[in-house]
Symmetry: C2
Subunit: 740 residues, 2 copies
């Protein structure tokens, strides 16, 4: 599961991921190029030099052939969460971590997991009877593709059902698509809908279908979005072939992710479970993913009106929306949704001066099938990073802060392993967590991309300047920026109006950072190298695919280990944390301005107090500047005290720790324990997944939702709540200084 | 031949036309709604009331069933220019005009016309030998589609040639597409290229292929642009079916249109002819149009690199650019390009007070095949308009000015009938022409659209408010505006930032107005009702198609006759011409600002004096306001003198005529007898077709070309020339007032 960074195509599109984040352009930042010699942010010059030397030693360790071997081992067998093969990968990861000198343990949870009891039956029953194959063909060039253990095509948490009804084509299944159908007097009530993947999380497609009264939902990969229209198909090229379908969860994780029966609490013995009927994250209708080869059999006979604008896909006939009684479909799903054990692997590197401050790195390990790209490219990178940290430990390094390396399970079903662990350790994390650094897909190609809270923008940009991009030999930063510019309109490039800094997206709903950021308020990032990745959640996401297309040399796996480790070392060791709330305030201002524009268009701009949010952001910005000034002063004191060997040093260090704590408290202060409207698990007031759109982050979520709903009372209340959260964050910074 | 107004699709595209105009958004104008009762622009209140009564009588005449019968007669047989069937349509038109009481004559020209001697042979020779059908299938529901007289698929003025070479797919065949291929190291020298229709005039595709060293050029209609991806195909729907190809001229009419052997002079006996080798408007390579059914046979085997971004079309496989020696094509064209006679039909309604001022209405009559939409929907409208004028004449009406109704021949080959007539009457037209009103496709659907010089914007908007839209029962203006808004992004609509006035495009290179406006400097318009029109230049552009899809009731044909006639009556009878140079100045300012932006992006903004053009536009704007003020004063004087019966009236009328003449002279002053760089036939300094892009109008043509060429000396010189032309126009207005 993971954002897939697709190459910029004429028709831009996004392949779904479990909960996915779409690119949102953020403002250009000052391009203050850091050179090798520059002092690391949050370090004194001496400490910086030492840290850079340490980093160099670290970055020399991760090896491409090491990553290749990890990936080969991890992808030998399909390893769906909760299966014996999944357990074997947990042991592999634990044993490698131990071998590298880290202490690592399995952590089990008992969670509700979805499996197909019998493969789904899907057939056209009128105008002719035709049963669809629902099977990804074995490909001779790819040995694992013929494995008998490949799980049948299904959507996780689809309901069991047996329905026969007319079929309606609903395009991407967005609320706007249903609006377009209503204009054509096409009603989906009592019908089966067929939606194409893209533009929303598949669980949103199921949810919107359910809300519109559909009795079943089929989701397929259209060749315009994810198939031959993108390029050569596997095994000739990296794109999705005719029989391939995208598995994936349809859990309503935008309400809450994790184990459906233990929202907010860890799924361990003794935790009470709610009933399945109470579990708001479970869909109530059968949902089934199919290939475009199969979809063609259903779509071509459809009648009814010709598709509205934007509905045509890449199959070679004019799409019709259907809904007429003469084209009917029979969908029978038989799901085995049962309690099963999952295994997170948790390694801990004990910190030194600040061992009660935690830096958490995570990647999930479970896969729908072999998961070479998603997620085990990330697992391979994590293991090479661990090897590097192991080397440093052997050389006597002790990180200032405690580092966790986590290999999550059951992310694919709904971010379960990470959510349960975060819920179990919620109090510790709220007190101690410095940041959460996620890598899901480490490598699908050569194009770096990142999402994060604005606190970490500077750090990400600085670190990517210090890691080499394998293909170009330039820095990752430079390659990243140049690739972004290629994707921009000529006009912008010519005018030099393209953002000077490479873009970092807001975090949405994409992977295991969700519980850390959006439930607990832990500053987070997520990153990976993307590319032409057309085998997402299929049996072809294999070691062979990676070796032919994704990263034949495995150099990008090593680069990710270097980069992830570099960021981690800087955060783990920095005397002063680099978290920046000036960028955060700027980002919030942009979010507010966008929201005001939308509200103005809808004549709702008067319904809430945007100025109060902007004032709060200004306050946050001012406090951030003061905190940074005090921090720099204290770092300077530390640096000078070392030279003079006077007694200011310990006091300055203690004061720096107070400042550091205030930087953590500020992100925490952006959460509100009452949570978002109708989904109390989501507590962050700035970042959350969109409830309906399923698009990426929905910044200022309750305000945006209120505006979408045209509910002025909710908008007013949400704006007050957001402004209060930002003022609390500013206050946290102030307290950190004033307690000094 | 004609702009085809396509429905706004997710992927916006333009079907080519001979010389086509793409939509360019013009600035919103003041939405001063004219009611029935408002005084017509350029009339005194009394005269306005009388004119409105006359218009009402006129608009009662055009009949849907009359138009249907004309169309049936005109489209019985294929009537390619210069054929006996074409001659029969000339007689039909002449005889109807005479029957309605107008004097009408044929006017012959002897011009170079292209015919296929034998049908083209096109075959794949490697990797397998396969001859393509190159034939539009007979469709049982459409009786004329099986006619033996349908001309084979060919491109007018294609060279005769016999070439066998590797094939390269060049997307739309734009210069930028060749640039993209060069980045892939794909060279078309010595190869045959295959381009898809769209985004440029097909003659530009041929020209760019020729300049890049290709030895042959195949042009096909891709289903993404013009086929099943747009909707149901004929006969189920209005879109292009699998075997249909778009015929059309590839004359290099952007150098000069009309008879290739008599540029600037009429093709009549005694006019010296240049040699074919000297004729710069003739392509030198074989060019052939094919269907997407045939194109699939050529494109699917292509190897070489996967297509760059933007190259993928709607056929169901990943496009490759080819160029490898293992896929070769044999193209053999055998053309009979010979001198032939064509027949314009010219009717003249003698003017009264100002018979030496001419208003010219024109529509072409010749068609590639049956031409029900293009152009005979316009011919049917012209004949119903003529019936209306005939009725008025019988009731005693005499227009103030002389009106010409023209049925042009050989437009399809290169605007030949209109160009030769305009060249023959150049001196009269320069002195006398008030305006040229073109209708090519009158009806392809229900969506009104117009292009014109800004002089006529107000008139067009006012007239469309006074004609009823058949489908909605609202005014044409209102239906037009509402349809435009539907096509706009929700954001704009919600914000109310969509232009308040319906958009009128600049005139480009689309139809028979070219010689009038761009050679002679006659204020012009072009208009039609567009829709889902997928049979352009095919054998299916038939009476059956029109009856099933385009205008089943023929009410839009009648509406076009009413609207065209309303505009004509207002221009023919107005004591004061409504031509507005304030709008013209605004339009020029917009063009300059756009050009400056482009130049800035290319760091060429300093190379020319934009301010001089803007200053000249300001001068024009000021003069326009003064002229309008004096005009209104004079109209007031006339109105009062009628009441008082004093002697100011004749003098005021004479002074109005001077003002009128200055309004004509101003447009003429925008031409420069030295013409545009490298194409002296084009004399207008504001409007011309783009030389390479083939897009629509290329406003400020020589300046834009210089910037595209990054030629600073040319840019400086062009800007000076443009500024001088605008100052001349301002001077013309000043002279008109001061001579008073």
């Amino acid at each position: 599961m993971k954002t897939t960074w697709m190459r910029a195509a004429a028709a831009l599109f996004l392949v779904n991921q479990l909960f996915f984040s779409a690119p949102v352009v953020t403002r250009a930042q000052d391009a203050t190029a850091t050179t090798q010699a520059a002092t690391l942010d949050g370090y004194t010059p001496d400490e910086s030099a030492a840290e850079r030397a340490l980093e160099d030693r670290f970055r020399a360790v991760p090896r491409a052939d090491g990553a290749r071997e990890h990936l080969r081992q991890l992808t030998k067998e399909a390893h769906l969460a909760g299966t014996p093969e999944d357990y074997q990968t947990a042991l592999y990861v634990r044993d490698r971590l131990r071998e590298y000198g880290l202490s690592a343990e399995l952590r089990e949870y008992q969670v509700l997991l979805p499996y197909p009891r019998t493969p789904t039956l899907l057939e056209l029953v009128a105008p002719r009877r035709e049963r669809l194959a629902l099977k990804e063909a074995a490909i001779p060039e790819d040995p694992t593709s013929s494995s008998p253990k490949i799980v049948p095509l299904y959507n996780g948490y689809s309901a069991t059902g047996d329905v026969t009804a007319p079929l309606v084509y609903v395009n991407y299944g967005l609320p706007a698509d249903y609006d377009a159908l209503k204009k054509l007097n096409v009603d989906v009530r009592g019908k089966i809908v067929i939606a194409r993947y893209g533009h929303s999380y598949r669980g949103v497609k199921a949810r919107v279908a359910e809300e519109n009264g559909a009795v079943g939902c089929i989701i397929y990969s259209d060749p315009a979005d994810d198939g031959y229209m993108q390029g050569d198909v596997y095994p000739q090229g990296p794109w999705r072939p005719e029989t391939s379908a995208q598995r994936g969860s349809v859990q309503y994780g935008f309400i809450y992710p994790g184990d459906p029966l233990t929202p907010g609490t860890p799924a361990i013995p003794g935790t009470p479970r709610i009933s399945r009927e109470q579990a708001a994250s479970l869909p109530k209708l059968p949902v089934q993913p199919i290939s475009y080869g199969d979809a063609r059999r259903l779509l071509e006979p459809l009648r009814g009106p010709v598709r509205p604008n934007g509905f045509q896909g890449g199959l070679p006939f004019p799409y019709h929306v259907g809904g007429t009684p003469d084209v009917r479909v029979h969908l029978k799903t038989d799901m085995d949704i049962r309690t099963a054990t999952i295994w997170d692997v948790i390694a801990r590197i004990e910190g030194d001066a600040e061992k009660d401050r935690w830096l958490v790195l995570g990647n999930h390990r479970d896969a729908w099938v072999f998961g070479a790209v998603d997620p085990n490219s990330g697992t391979a990178a994590l293991l090479e990073l661990a090897r590097g940290f192991g080397e440093l430990l052997k050389q006597g390094w002790k990180p200032r802060r405690t580092i966790y390396l986590c290999s999550w399970d059951a992310e694919e079903q709904g971010l379960i392993g990470s959510t349960e662990w975060a819920e179990e350790n919620a109090n510790d994390l709220k007190e101690k967590a410095v940041a959460y650094l996620n890598v899901d897909v480490a490598v699908a190609g050569p194009n770096y991309s990142a999402s994060s809270t604005p606190t970490l923008w500077r750090l990400i940009r600085a670190a990517t300047r210090d890691v080499r991009d394998p293909k170009t030999g330039k820095s990752v930063y430079q390659a990243w920026q140049e690739h972004e510019r290629e994707g921009q309109p000529e006009a912008d490039t010519e005018a030099g109006t393209s953002p000077r800094e490479a873009r970092i997206d807001p975090l949405g709903f994409g992977s295991d950072y969700t519980a850390f950021l959006e439930h607990l308020g832990v500053t987070s990032l997520d990153m990976g190298f993307g590319g032409d990745y057309g085998v997402y959640h299929s049996a072809y996401d294999s070691f062979t695919w990676m070796s032919k297309f994704g990263d034949p040399s495995f150099a990008y796996h090593a680069a990710m280990a270097q980069l992830w480790g570099t960021i981690a070392l800087r955060l783990a060791d920095a005397p002063a944390l680099p978290h920046d709330y000036g960028d955060y305030a700027d980002q919030i201002r942009d979010f507010v301005n966008e929201t005001v524009k939308t509200a103005q268009r809808r004549k709702l701009a008067d319904s809430f107090d945007a100025k109060a949010i902007l004032d709060a952001a200004k306050e946050l910005s001012d406090e951030a500047a003061r905190t940074r000034a005090q921090r720099d002063e204290l770092l300077d004191t530390v640096a000078r005290s070392r030279v003079r060997a006077d007694d200011t040093h310990p006091r300055a260090v203690a004061r720096l720790r107070k400042l550091n704590d205030s930087l953590l408290a500020a992100e925490r202060a952006l959460t509100d324990p009452t949570g978002l409207r109708g989904r109390p698990w989501y507590q962050h007031q700035i970042y959350a997944p969109g409830f309906y759109t399923g698009y990426a982050a929905q910044p200022l979520p309750d305000l945006r939702q209120a505006i979408d709903d045209r509910n002025t009372a909710n908008a007013r209340e949400a704006a007050q709540r957001i402004a209060a959260a930002i003022r609390r964050a500013a206050q946290a910074l102030r307290d950190g200084r004033e307690s000094n």
